[in-house]
Symmetry: C2
């Protein structure tokens, strides 16, 4: 009889071993791609000072931060909290260890972050984020924006079994456009309208714009902008069509356009064609610290899934902690959410199948009939482990049949070692999936 | 100018990238050994219910638990805390998911745990623990005690560059002995005296025993017991010498002795000889939930280091959560502390050397002279990555010399790609350590 509610806290992802094995495999694949692309891994502490964590957070994020207190402390004593992303602790890390780092600092972080959000399906309060960032000192060429996007694309494509597409935009370009069409006074509202354009019917977007008392022809320009996606020529044609001359416009429009063009050109050289990467002017990426490139990944075959991660350029990572300038560009894969979504859409390959049939996490179970066969079992186990096989040894407790059943629940193959097998130096290997038996020399 | 203290909170381990790479390597090696030995990995949430976490914790541990509250909550609202070990969440996990698990459940957990201890050298408030456990339903053969110890030994030996020795004892044997020499009334004190025997001079141990008013001949028996270590014959001879007849004594003395013998026999079959594993009657392992086998690992060449991890048998993992019986045996490597200790003793191989010289975490840096060579750089990078090499691309910002210096700080090899290199389809690979240059075909 249970004495307690033993379910995990709501909003926490707790997996059974076969699902965990797949999750771990995805995490390793991301780590491997990040490593191959020259990113150095670091880990920051889960707990950090409130003055560090609250310096950058605002609004909803601030309300979601988990503070920590020791058992004998009151809430007012709290001086520390759980990190809510990798970026803020990274800023602290870069400032603290600056003299030991080489810039541009290419860094990866894979770990759990925490936000006390209202629990919803696929939104977790504790979640894995897998980040890459390139941090410059004083300046950082736009070259790296393309490298980070490419690394993100490769990392996601290493385990997502359906094509991935990058949608790219640029904050300078958006803000230049807002100035060019003369609605700078409503800049914040317009950002928000663009950001939400995909989540509401188009009529609603127009309605929002009308609410701001924006002239009709400007509304048309803005909706045209929002709905434009494609290559750099498409963007230039759109500007021409709605009568915007980039040369005559504020610097940031042209600067943003040039950056978009550079990133697209590099992505093409990196092998990402129009199916894999396009400019999409709807992309804003909510977080307000982005200052240039913004991007996200989607699965074109699964439009309802939405963004599977993304990132962008921030001009000053550590402005709250130092007067020195550290521009950066980064990408983040929200692995806990992505894993949940892939599973919901049956995209977790030969993993957890719909009928809850389990993948066998162990390769071999060796069953010594009596303790007399323990030594032989150990020798065989070590031989198989040297070949990279995961090997379990389960001695017979009562009936061999029960032990076999137990073995079949975790392993792909079973091997029974009795007196005869050891004497003859050979045994039968049973494939639990097919029932086939094959002879193996000991 | 720094505006904040950007050091990590005291008691947190924050590593530079080269040290982090070694730490990650050790963690992977442990994970690999656990996997090869048939343990299935799981992760439990970092945050759990107070009623779960405080159910088992007592005394100092309870005071060290970090509670979490949201920004708008008071301390009294706290219903959740950070896990302080892997064992309590595992108990919850086993009860919660029992019907989906196969028993004996062989499980590994690698992750960060939290204790608000007073910060000391090598003691961390956030620390990695790497655990394996075998959990039975209703019963669990002593066979698994040896398997867990062997797995622990193999995992530690996979990265510790000096021999490891297992010291084994058994709680039943200790408690049987305490009864046999007639000091059962002081059992708790005697456990504590045995547990501390190694940390105080021998005279002090005798003094403690005298303080309990224990007769002199019994004091001699107890100190003889404490100082005995070796194989099972040594233990049996010691018992004879001090006049204890196991057949005439309480059951647990003989039961403990038999278990010790079984575990030692299996360890020998597994290839651990007297240098690798011995019985040591000083070993108690502080935590009070152990009920049979207890063990720890030490580095014989570094006696001052003390225990590098250990574990033991607990008869009832989840007694606080359910009436069902789940006996288990487990081992834990405290990796954060172990890494710190190994580094202090210069046992981190070609890693962080004393003069703080950094190991190069990246294999190759490719330097395109101008954007004209970006495409060629990308092709070469992908070719090297396919060979498993970590490759960074750093464009020349101002002077090639500066870029080379920057490359030499992170990478083993540097490759400059200019117009001629691309035209001739060949480049020079510079070994930054030796200065040697070798030709490579593109």
């Amino acid at each position: 009889m249970k004495k307690f509610n033993t379910s995990p806290i709501s909003g926490m992802q707790e997996l059974l071993p076969p699902a965990q094995a797949i999750f771990n495999d995805y995490k390793s694949k991301i780590a491997e791609v990040y490593h191959l692309h020259g990113f150095q891994n670091i880990e920051t502490p889960t707990i950090d000072r409130n003055e560090i964590l609250f310096a950058k957070a605002g609004g909803d994020t601030e309300k979601q931060i988990y503070r920590v207190i020791k058992t004998d402390e009151s809430a007012e004593d709290s001086t520390q909290s759980l990190r809510f992303d990798h970026t803020v602790p990274l800023a602290r890390y870069v400032v603290e260890h600056e003299s030991d780092l080489s810039f541009p600092f290419r860094v990866s972080q894979i770990g759990r972050n925490f936000r006390g959000e209202r629990a919803q399906k696929g939104r977790f309060r504790e979640f894995y984020q897998c980040d890459v960032d390139v941090i410059g000192r004083n300046n950082l060429p736009i070259f790296y924006d393309a490298q980070v996007i490419y690394t993100f694309y490769q990392a996601v494509s290493a385990f997502v079994k359906t094509p991935v597409r990058i949608r790219l935009n640029n904050r300078k370009f958006i803000s230049g456009f807002i100035k060019a069409v003369g609605v700078i006074d409503y800049a914040k509202d317009i950002y928000s309208i663009i950001d939400h354009a995909e989540k509401v019917p188009e009529g609603k977007t127009i309605e929002f714009l009308h609410e701001l008392q924006i002239p009709e022809d400007t509304v048309v320009k803005i909706t045209t902008f929002i709905n434009t996606h494609g290559d750099i020529q498409t963007i230039k044609s759109m500007l021409k069509e709605i009568g915007i001359d980039t040369d005559a416009q504020p610097d940031d429009l042209l600067e943003g356009l040039t950056e978009l063009e550079t990133v697209m050109t590099e992505l093409q050289k990196l092998g990402l064609g129009s199916d894999e990467a396009e400019i999409d002017l709807k992309i804003v990426r909510g977080l307000d610290y982005y200052t240039g490139t913004v991007f996200e990944g989607i699965l074109p075959a699964y439009p309802e899934v939405g963004s599977i991660g993304g990132g962008g350029r921030y001009d000053n990572l550590a402005s709250n902690f130092t007067d020195q300038k550290f521009p950066g560009v980064g990408a983040s894969i929200g692995l806990s959410r992505l894993f949940f979504i892939l599973n919901e859409n049956n995209l977790i390959g030969n993993g957890i199948s719909e009928n809850n049939q389990l993948v066998q996490p162990v390769d071999y179970v060796i069953i010594p009939m009596t303790t007399e066969q323990n030594s032989a079992s150990y020798v065989l186990a070590e031989k198989l482990r040297k070949e990279g096989k995961s090997v379990d040894i389960i001695p017979v407790e009562k009936k061999l049949g029960d032990t076999m059943k137990s073995a079949a629940r975790v392993a792909k193959f079973g091997i029974v070692l009795g007196e005869n097998e050891v004497k003859n130096s050979s045994c039968m290997v049973k494939d639990f999936a097919t029932g086939d038996q094959t002879l193996m020399k000991l």
